[in-house]
Every structure is written in structure tokens, then in C-alpha cells.
Symmetry: C2
Subunit: 646 residues, 2 copies
């Protein structure tokens, strides 16, 4: 908490203070590789796909009907469908910021105009409530999602204002009018209530940062503080579903609905940082630690229940019934990133990396037009391919689907990918911290006017070598510190400094955490980080009952999986186990593991005396697939956790 | 399928043919012991408790409002609340049959009169539909539960007609009028539709048996055959939820909602038996085998999902998220009992015993006034005691609750316990088969007029000794065959014949399955079965991922559990594991097991290199509790499956 932000970055999160300053799109550009490729597909295919569905589902048309005064007749979609339009606008804004695509700019302006036409004179904006024949405004705070939708509107307006400051499209004005109404209705002297789905908090906090209006931060603070006071009705799953069971600063863990929990935590972190509330920030850090230690899948995914899309109890992490909603992964990144900016703990960047590779990258199909909503870690029965022209009613569908009745995930992935450059690096007074490894170009100015400019060259995670090459346009005289994250799994990493002037290379070990290189970087100076990317076996804590006696194969940041299409004849992953003493190895660009087939055919009652299981000695070596690539070759069964033979 | 039933037993199920003939309440009486005690509590406390709640919740009052013509104003309860009144009437009927209690008789007549007053002139009976301001009759077959409710009405009327034939209370007439309307509306030439919750099939089939009217059996057949044709709307969980995905005779397993699935299978079995449809019966047997081998908990419980109260996929049997609804256990007993009567396979009696001891007996509190709805096998966090004056919104509550918003389970337990005498024994042409062991008195007449009369003396399952003592009122000249079930777990069982005339005792081994003793039983002749009741370790099939590396301790038919109140200081069952090589032992009337404490305090990320788990060598011996007795000493954590130390 030592540094004041001086200029607003072109980034989703811009705290007024914090240990690290985020570098936005104008300072960091991903130039290719794993994430660059996904950004390209996102910008060229996914955004178009989303808009097409927003139109065909009538969710955009709802705004036209509102403007025409014909609602509620013909309204389509669920109570939160407005929010998907706003997330789409946010994604468009970041993509325009990233590429400057004029076609997208025109598209954004058209959509904003349709939204603007639906706003009421007093700022109210929602197509589901407030008109004759509809529920009254704010009459169903448990399930109505009005404030939730506005939170996404605010984030969209912030994205737009940071990527095209002063643009005359009007999106920021829409947000400001709506936010003013929210403050009027729900201010400290107003209605003592919260929304059943957190999101308005994080939206208001960022809108306050973007506009400089402290009322929005104050309103965010009020909403955060009101959680846990039981103002929402009790429901079957308890008020923890809404995080209305325990005040935020008193809770020990994230709990309840996993998206709600993370969005609230992100908003609370914004409030804590901007108001200097270290007590609240400390509570959030402790909740994060607890949640990561006991309620997070090896993929980084969160949410163990299908029923209420919620966190389970500690250690309750079923592989086959993992919900691990894509949106919860996005929310977890939002929360972890805020803690990282505030305190600089590299474990938060570790979790972000893990979640990006194994949740966010898993959701979209390679063509960017179908998505996982839930992300199971164990598929027992091959899924049924989704009809590309239909809307899937099944969030828990086992194959990617083009659209869902509740379709929060596709635009959430889109806005995350479009803004991903802003999660790669940060700066502090003395240097730049590289948190995520991708081919990139970085240029920023540190205190004292030191210009830092370098390229990142890597094919990570295909290999573990990351080269940071100082550019000619960097200042050369003043030293600064390059901080590289060494993931927790990267035992044995090494860092090398290769001066351009022909001086001897320096090499040293880089322990997990971070490694720093401080020098007066000259053009062509290279810092090379070599991460041990070799596949490894990972075992779970003994209290994670659901995967006891199993291991997972990981390679770098990627979790690998055993998929039936790779197994051969019987194509049944349920009877495979790791051969005794087997270790993964790489060959032909894939990772292989030796397995045996276990178990017998049915013998009636499946519970009997211990150690009666017959075993086949014959083993075979099968290839694994990156978890984010599973189900790309048609229906299959799959497991991330592989039983050991013992 | 060799034997024709000659007289209708005082029993819930009376097939027109089958391998075994059920013996009803007039032929078998449980006289005490484990089940007799529970029947006493059921009759004295539970029935009163249920009626009190049916009144205070307004579910009985709904019938009064219907009669007064004031509905829908003031209607209370969910769309299926009528069915709880009918299950209560069924329970009352069996209890009156069992005890002849005049107070219960008066109570039944009063309730029947209130139901009768609500029936429409054309036979329609439902308090939720059909009046101005309500949904139209049969307008919501997916969720309206009208036919489901009538199925329970029919079962109640059958119970009454078998326990008090010709009684003038009018219950049978109400059922007949309603059934006639159902046949008119939904007959083969009528509306091509089914109810979203199976139950009317089993009710109609039994009503046909009770009245001799073949139309009801035909209607049951039509409903069974219509399943799997997709006449119900698709829903998020798929049509398998309603068993409307695949025709009954084509399915490979029970699937979807576990209560619906079992009720439908029971009704289909009735239809198959009474129409001589061996193809259908064979399909049902295969589904039962599959379901028992791959989709049933060690407790006999069924239903792996909270979300849709449904079966999971094969091998998907999470302990901590076990739903194992009490009603699914009741439904499983209904289905298994019908298969047992049809084919005589003792494995069905094994499953019934397992389900009775570990699901049905688990649900009610000792005082008979609180119930488990779901029956988890692993409680991670101590539950919050239910307010005895409140209605619990939480089916998955971790402690027994007096009543639920959906309160199907309490009256389902009540009707099962009240009719339990009828599940103890059967007869065939040559003898009597004893399926369940309880202190009992049995008297029936076999082909050729041979009177069989004996008492069963046992404190099973406290001990494993069961004595069958032939009575003086039995015919003595003609030999007959006593068949005793030997449970699958009872390896090493022995049977002894101890003639009253002082002749030498005969003793032989009795292998799991059944053991037969054929002789001309004279008064005082004793057959003694000794089952090895000693506690034993049981391991799961390697494909049941959720409990890999665990064992359960069983003792006779009872599954045992580790409950935190027995563990001592730390009272945390999550870190306990079986000590290496430990075996359960009995001492002071309890079963004990040696455990060690495993695992470390939190170390951040819970996934790491294999075999890094520190272990405490110190072990201690802790007592186990019968699973059906858990949570009777206040909030606790509990686990049925105990990790092994390896």
C-alpha cells in the first residue's frame, strides 16, 4: 500500500493504491502464442457469435421493446438477460481497445444506442421490471438481478471509458445515470437492501475510479457492508447462497454460490483498497487462503455443487460432479488479481494462471462458437453433441454448447480474453513484474521517467523457456528490477542473464515465488527464465475424499486428462489405473503414461471383503490430453484424476 | 409363476400369481425387537405427529376448503400435499390392521369424511387444480402431481379394504370413483399422457387386485407402456428425470429421479406379473440387477444427486453428497419385494433388509417425531438442530427435522413400518419362507390344508441367533419346508434342527442364499439359524471413485459409522484413518476400531507431490455407532467410509 497510481491504465482494474500498478492494453500487448491465438478467435468469431445469439434469442430485442413501450409483451429470456448484453459491450470495448477494429466500433455504437433508448428518464434500466404488467422495480431483490445487471453495465462503461476516453457513444452517461439512481434508492439513508447476486459492488467501485465520483465507491462500500445481515429471504440452500449469512469481514471462507461469492469478494477488495480498510482486506486475504487451500479444484475451478452452483464444505471436491462454472473461474481471477495488485503475493498469479489454462481456456471450442458452462473433472458417460442451432437447457452438458438458456459464460470468457493483456504485467516504483508468460511487448514508464521496454519471446507452455529481450526504445542508463514469477510447481527453475554486450552470462537458481533481476538493461539484453515444464505427478491432500488414491498428471500450468478416444479398444476410462511406479514421459509432442486395466465385470453387490479385486498385470502406455483440449474430438469419457494401482 | 393366490392377504402387495405368496398381517405378526419397538413408536407417536402437522400446515384443511367451495383462496402447501394425507390414511389403515386401535379407527373415519367431501361429482379429487382461479385439471402433467396423488389414494384404499374389508367408511368408493375417471380420461382411447411422478401405476394395479376390476390393471399397463415416449416436456435434467426417456421394457437401469424410478418399476412389475408379461418382468429384473450393482449405496440407499434427487451414472456414489432419499429407500423396497414375490431371488430380500436397517430405520428419531429426508453417508460439518415447531425448507438438512416443506418422507416411513409384518414371510405350495428376522408369530395354511404355525425368537441383529419354534397349533403329520434366508454377508452361517422329541440335533452349514429344512414339524421343534454377526470390513468396487481407498465396518445387516461425538478431543472425523491392519472388535456392547490421525494443517495449495503426507504413528481405538443411530446425540460430523492408512 505504498504507491499511488498516477495515470489510469487501459485495464479493467485500477485501484487508487496498492503494492503493484496494473499495466493496461497500451502498455502490454500479447503478440501471439497460446493466448494470442485465443484472443484472435475471440475477436473474429466469438464476438460475432455472441451478438448473433443475443439477437436471435431476443435479449437485445428486449431493449428495443422497452424503448418502443411494448414491454412486457414479447419479452424473452431470463431475468438477467440484460447483463449478457452488457458483458458483450464490455468485451467489445476491450477488443476495440486491443485492435481498434472499426467494424467492432460501429457495432458497439449501434448496441449502445439500443440500450440508451431503453433507459428511463430517471436512469432506471432493466427490461424485466418496472412497467405495467411487470414486477415493480427492486421488488425481487433475491432473484430479480436488477442491480447485478447494472453492475455489468458499469463494468462495460468503465471498459469503454478506459479504452476510448471521451468517446461520444454515450455508454458512460448511461452508466452514470443508472448509478446515480442506485445511490439515491439504496444509499446509506435509503433502502437497506442488497442484490441477491453480487456484481454491482465491483461495478460501482470501478465506476467510481473511472469517473472520480466518490459516491459510487461509498455505495459499493454500503452494499458490501450490508451483506451478511439477512436482508434477503432465507431459501432452501440458506442465505449463504447470496453471501447474506455472515458479514464479509467476519467470514472465514468464500461460500455459497461460487460466482456470487467471487464477484462480491472482488468488489469488497476494491472497497477495502480504495477506502484503506486493512481489516477488510485482511479478512478477504484469509478467505482467499482458505478457499484456495480447501475449496478449489486442481484446475483452479471453484464450485462443487450442481444444485446451487455453490462451494461445498471444506475438502468437498468431487471430480465427477464438479460444477466449476466457467464464470466462477472468471470471478476467481477477478478476486485474485485484486489481491495481487494490493499485496503482490505471487500465489495469486499462480492461481490466475492455473485458472486461465484450465478453466477459461477449457470453456470455448477451438472455433470460438461453443462453450463449456460447467467444467467437470470426470466425464463418466459420453456426452450428446449440442445442436449448433439450439440453445442448451443444460448448464451441466457434457459437451460444449453454442448457447445456454442461462448464458453467462460465453460473454464472460469473451470479456476476459479481450482484456487479457491487462493481466500480464504490473509495475511498481522500481520495476516491472511479469505474472503471466506469453509472447508480448511491454512498454511503460517507471518513477523517475525510466522507460522500460521489452519483448517477451516464448512458446510457453509448449516449452518452459521465457526470454525477456530489452528493446532499443528503452532507457538504458537507469537500473530497474525485472521480477519474474516462478510458479509453485517449478522446482528447479533457473534464470539466466545474457548481456547484449558480450559479457559473461550469469545463471542462478530461481526458487518458486519470484525471482528478481536488477540491472541497467541495455538493448538486446536478455533475461531467460527456464521453467521445468516436464510432466509430473500430483497427489491430493488426504482430506479430499473424492480423489483419494488418485494422482493427476500436470505439465507446467496445464492439467492433463485421460480421454477415452486415446485409450483404444474398450474406450472406457473407468477401469484404468496408473501402473505401479509409472511416471509420465514425453514423446511425439504428447505426454504418455503407463496404465493397467482394473476391476472385474459386474458381480452383483459391489461391496465386499477388502483386497478381492482381481488385477490384470498387462500394462500399456496411453497418451494424455491437455484438460483444456478435451472433448474436442467428439463424445468421450474423461478423467483428470487417475487411480493408483495400490 | 406357478402358483395362484387363493386368498387375498392383509398386505400391500397381492399379485395374482408368482413364485411366492405374501403372508399378510393376519398371518404374520412382529411381536417385538428392533422392528416391533419401531412399530410401537410409529403407532403411538409418529401417526399423531403427522396428523398434527397435516392440520397445522393446512394440508388437511385444503380438503375442507375444497368442500366449502372457497378454494383457491387460502390453499396451503405444494402441489402434491394431498398425497401426504393419503399416505397418512394408508399408514392408519395398516396400523389399525395391526392393532385394531379404536382411537385410530375413529381418526381415520374423520379424515376420510373430509376427503370424501372434497371429491367432485365426476370423481375428480385434487385440491390444487380444476377450480376457477386454479390451473385446469391435468394441465400440468410434468409437475402437477394429480395422478401421483391419486396413486397414493388408491394405495390407501387398498390398505383399508384389505385390513377392514367391507368397512363403511367410504374410502374404497372414493378411490373407485377417482379411478373410473382416470380410466375415462387417460384410457387407451383417451389422452395419450402420463404423470410426471409415477405412482398411479402401482396404485391402479393394486386397486385392480383389490376390486377385481380389470380396467384398472389395463390403465396401469397403459401408463407403464406410455413411459419413454416423450409425452412430457423436456427439462433441464432431461426426460429421464420422469423416466420418459426410454420405454420401460427397453431401459437398462433405473435412472432419473430415484423415487419416481422405483415407484414406476414397482407398478411395472405389478403389471408384468398380472398380465403374464415375462418380457417386461425380465427387463425389470435386469434393471434391478444393474441398479444394485452400480447405483446403490452400501446402506441400500439410492439417489446420488441433490440437484434432481436422481440416480447418478454408474459408479457415481458420492458419500458426502449422497441424497439417498428416505422415500427412494421405501420405493426400492416396494420394487424389490415385487421381484422377490415373482421370482423368489433372496438377493431381493437382502436388499430389503439392508434398506430397512440403514435407510428406513435411519430416518425417524427415537421419539418418532423427526426425520431424515436425505441420508448422507458423510457429514462434514455439524448440522444445525431443527426447530421442533418449524417446517424445514431443507431436504438435505443434516439433522432430523419434524417436518419439511416437501414432507413425503415421514408418512412414507409411517406406512412402511405399519405394514412391515407383511414383508417378513411368504409361502409357496410346500412351505414358508422367512425373509426378515424379527420376533414374530407366523400362522398360515399351505396347499392340502397343512397348518403351519411357529414363533420366531431372536434379538437379531443384536445377536445372530434366530430360533423358529413350531407351535402346538400347527399340523404335525404333514411335512413342509421351512426356508430361511442366509444373507450374502453371512459366510459361515449354520443351521441346527433341534427336535422336541429329544432326537439328536442335526447341524449343517448354511451358505449365503437360502437354507431349507423339510420335515414334519411337531410342537416345540426348533430350527436355529446362527448368522455370523461379528463386525467385518467391507471394501468398495474399484470403480466407485468416491470411496476409493476406504472401508466400511458392517455388523450383520447394519452399516456402522464413525461419529465425532465418539472420537474425543478434536471431534473431527475428517483426519481419521484406519490403522494399518486394524480389524473391528466388540466390547461393552459396541464395535471398536483402531484409527490414526492423518494429514497436516493447511499448507496452502492442497495438491502436491505424491507421498508427502506426514503421518502420526500413534493410534487409538474408538467406538462406532450404527448408522441408523447417528445424529441422535446432537450435532456431529460422521463418516461411514473410513480411509485406510495406505
Amino acid at each position: 500500500m505504498t504507491m499511488q497510481t498516477t495515470t489510469t491504465p487501459q485495464a479493467p482494474v485500477a485501484p487508487v493504491r496498492g503494492r503493484l500498478r496494473p499495466l493496461g492494453q497500451s502498455e502490454v500487448r500479447i503478440t501471439g502464442g497460446f493466448w494470442g491465438d485465443r484472443q484472435t478467435v475471440n475477436g473474429s468469431a466469438t464476438l460475432e457469435h455472441i451478438q448473433s445469439r443475443l439477437e436471435s434469442e431476443g435479449w437485445l430485442g428486449n431493449f428495443d421493446r422497452a424503448a418502443a413501450g411494448t414491454l412486457p409483451a414479447g419479452r424473452r429470456g431470463r431475468e438477467f438477460s440484460d447483463s449478457e448484453v452488457y458483458k458483450f459491450l464490455e468485451a467489445l470495448s476491450w477488443e476495440i481497445g486491443r485492435t481498434g477494429d472499426p467494424a467492432l466500433e460501429a457495432r458497439l455504437r449501434t448496441v449502445v444506442a439500443r440500450v440508451a433508448a431503453a433507459q428511463e428518464p430517471d436512469g432506471y434500466l432493466n427490461t424485466m421490471f418496472g412497467r405495467p404488467g411487470q414486477g415493480e422495480r427492486w421488488s425481487d431483490l433475491e432473484w430479480g438481478h436488477e442491480l447485478y445487471c447494472l453492475g455489468h453495465l458499469f463494468q462495460a462503461a468503465v471498459a469503454r471509458s478506459r479504452t476510448r476516453p471521451g468517446a461520444d457513444d454515450g455508454l458512460l452517461g448511461i452508466a452514470v445515470r443508472a448509478a446515480d439512481l442506485v445511490c439515491e434508492v439504496f444509499g446509506a439513508d435509503g433502502r437497506d437492501a442488497i442484490c441477491g447476486h453480487a456484481e454491482v459492488e465491483v461495478g460501482l467501485a470501478e465506476l467510481s475510479r473511472a469517473t472520480g465520483d466518490p459516491r459510487y465507491l461509498e455505495q459499493a462500500r454500503v452494499f458490501v457492508e450490508r451483506h451478511g445481515r439477512g436482508t434477503l429471504r432465507d431459501i432452501e440452500w440458506g442465505r449463504k447462497y447470496f453471501q447474506d449469512d455472515v458479514p464479509v469481514r467476519d467470514a472465514g471462507s468464500l461460500r455459497g454460490h461460487a460466482v456470487r461469492a467471487n464477484y462480491l469478494a472482488a468488489g469488497a477488495a476494491d472497497v477495502a483498497v480504495d477506502t484503506g480498510d486493512d481489516d477488510l482486506l485482511g479478512a478477504l486475504r484469509r478467505q482467499w487462503e482458505h478457499t484456495v487451500a480447501r475449496r478449489t479444484y486442481v484446475t483452479g475451478g471453484q464450485g462443487s455443487h450442481h444444485q446451487d452452483e455453490a462451494f461445498g464444505e471444506d475438502w468437498e471436491l468431487p471430480a465427477d460432479r464438479a460444477y466449476s462454472e466457467t464464470c466462477a473461474g472468471v470471478g476467481s481471477i477477478m478476486f485474485a488479481w485484486r489481491l495481487l495488485l494490493a499485496g503482490g503475493d505471487p500465489r495469486q498469479a499462480d492461481l490466475i494462471e492455473r485458472t486461465l489454462y484450465n478453466v477459461v481456456a477449457t470453456s470455448p471450442a477451438p472455433d470460438g462458437r461453443a462453450f463449456f458452462y460447467a467444467n467437470t473433472l470426470h466425464q463418466r458417460v459420453p456426452g450428446v453433441p449440442a445442436d449448433p442451432d439450439e440453445t442448451s437447457p443444460r448448464a451441466s452438458s457434457s459437451l460444449r454448447a453454442p448457447w445456454f438458456e442461462v448464458s453467462c459464460c460465453p460473454p464472460n470468457v469473451a470479456r476476459t480474453l479481450a482484456s487479457l493483456d491487462a493481466y500480464v504485467a504490473t509495475a511498481d516504483d522500481d520495476g516491472v513484474q511479469l505474472h503471466q508468460y506469453a509472447p508480448a511487448s511491454v512498454r511503460t514508464t517507471l518513477a523517475g521517467g525510466r522507460v522500460v521496454a521489452f519483448d517477451v519471446e516464448t512458446d510457453y507452455p509448449a516449452s518452459g523457456a521465457v526470454r525477456v529481450v530489452s528493446r532499443a526504445d528503452a532507457a538504458t542508463a537507469a537500473p530497474w528490477t525485472l521480477t519474474l514469477r516462478v510458479p509453485a510447481w517449478a522446482t528447479g527453475a533457473r534464470v539466466r542473464v545474457l548481456p547484449a554486450n558480450g559479457a559473461a552470462a550469469e545463471e542462478r537458481a530461481a526458487a518458486p515465488g519470484t525471482v528478481e533481476v536488477r540491472r541497467a538493461f541495455g538493448p538486446g539484453d536478455v533475461v531467460e527464465l527456464v521453467l521445468p515444464i516436464e510432466p509430473r505427478l500430483t497427489a491430493p491432500d488426504a482430506r479430499i475424499d473424492a480423489v483419494r488414491g488418485c494422482v493427476v498428471v500436470e505439465r507446467g500450468p496445464e492439467v492433463l486428462a485421460l480421454e477415452s478416444v486415446d485409450v483404444g479398444e474398450d474406450a472406457d476410462v473407468s477401469r484404468l489405473a496408473l501402473a505401479s511406479g509409472a511416471q509420465p514421459s514425453e514423446r511425439d509432442g504428447r505426454v504418455w503414461i503407463e496404465v493397467v486395466t482394473r476391476g472385474d465385470d459386474d458381480a452383483g453387490w459391489p461391496y465386499g471383503g477388502p483386497d478381492e479385486e482381481p488385477r490384470e498385470a498387462a500394462s500399456r502406455t496411453v497418451p494424455l490430453v491437455a484438460y483444456h483440449e478435451w472433448a474436442e474430438r467428439g463424445p468421450s469419457t474423461m478423467r483428470v484424476w487417475i487411480p493408483t494401482e495400490t
